[in-house]
Symmetry: C2
Subunit: 212 residues, 2 copies
DNA sequence: CTCTAACATGTTAGTGACTAACCTAAGGGG
DNA sequence: CCCCTTAGGTTAGTCACTAACATGTTAGAG
């Protein structure tokens, strides 16, 4: 297999540190160049050169150029957050709370970085496409977490639709937030989006969102 | 611009027919080869050769290899279907009915082709990513159609979430249908998916879908 | 009827993402 | 001390996609 020689998680401390340093160097340089010159105008060669490695090393850390812009480590914590919710809570609320709580951290720490990354993704078709794949992965993750937390795994379509709708609402809230340059409270927007699901889908009144 | 010399919609009957024949030849050969050998294992050269043209001609008709697998002409009719719905119908029902009615046609005519195409997309990461972009486009289209049909354009987030949730439900129904090899009625599944939105998101009962 | 503009297609020669096969150097355990 | 593991390099590909320019064919103006 082509990617069998990926730098792995094991090894002595000093090797792990080196790996992590190289990886971080590649990703920060990638993001900087993408923001400076645009995603398409930046070549993998340039990124590798800026990080002081060869282009092959880049591909040992990131399977595609897109991944250097999209990869982060927020996903693994979602499952944990779901597991922490009370077992009798409805699935949709578990998701809602897990997501809003999860966003909490990066929201006030990495705020500016997050915003510029969202804008980059927004204006780059290749990256927008990449997020679709991420959403599929997130959906799978959430479904697993929910069944692990007690949801009926037999009712497949129901779970898929629930999770997909929840992710769609979250995505729209995040996009809306990025579109308005980070004005407003992201968690509030996400709650608004979930409220749209709750209130608008049942009877379809033309107005009535909870806040601006 | 690079794509300024795309075969256009104008011209005499003669030219238009030739264009359409070439285009159809390219797309059917592309789909056949993708299904036979897999998407990645098929080169654009092969497709072009099978259609009896050069690889440049291929790119004059399809901007990317993915498009040869994904492009169809179902989208334009969605807007029409929305416009046909009664003006006072809730947005979510407009979408639901437009989509189920729209699926009606291709459902019993192209059924087998549709199924194999869905399976192809399902097992090809590059194509799954492509569908994400299509969904963005569909979302824009639907929002335009809904505002044209009387929805309040000022309440941006609400419309985005509504449409995104509707598209998510539809997508999940279609995937579910493809996963179960086309057993069951697709329109019924879509209605089930919309019912999940309606009944499960409001109070989050653990059971209660309308049919299998 | 001829000349020309428009247009579908071809040819050739790129660029750049990504892969495969093989090589090197350095630390760590036997 | 040897050797194995592992981070990284080198080189030489393949293939999607682009740019620039060439060619034949047809439609329409004169």
């Amino acid at each position: 297999m082509s990617r069998a020689d990926l730098p792995r998680a094991a090894g002595s401390d000093w090797r792990r540190e080196k790996r992590e340093r190289t990886r971080a160097l590649l990703q920060t340089n990638a993001l900087r160049l993408f923001l400076e010159k645009g995603f398409d105008a930046t070549t993998v060669e340039e990124i590798a050169a800026a990080a002081g490695v060869s282009h092959m090393t880049f591909f040992r850390y990131f399977p595609t150029k897109e991944d250097a812009a999209l990869q982060d480590d927020y996903d693994p914590m979602i499952a944990d957050l779901i597991a922490e919710r009370p077992a009798d809570e409805p699935a949709i609320d578990k998701i809602r709370h897990a997501l809003t709580n999860g966003l909490h951290h990066l929201y006030d720490s990495d705020r500016e970085v997050l915003l510029s990354r969202l804008r980059l993704v927004h204006r780059t078709p290749a990256l927008r496409a990449g997020t679709g794949q991420r959403r599929d992965a997130d959906q799978k993750l959430l479904i697993q977490a929910l069944t692990a937390a007690g949801s009926d795994p037999g009712d497949e379509l129901r779970l898929r639709v629930l999770v997909a709708a929840a992710l769609a609402a979250t995505t729209e809230a995040i996009r809306y937030w990025a579109d308005s340059d980070g004005d407003g409270d992201l968690r509030q927007l996400i709650n608004d989006a979930f409220d749209v699901l709750r209130t608008e889908l049942t009877q379809g009144r033309p107005g009535g969102r909870s806040s601006a």
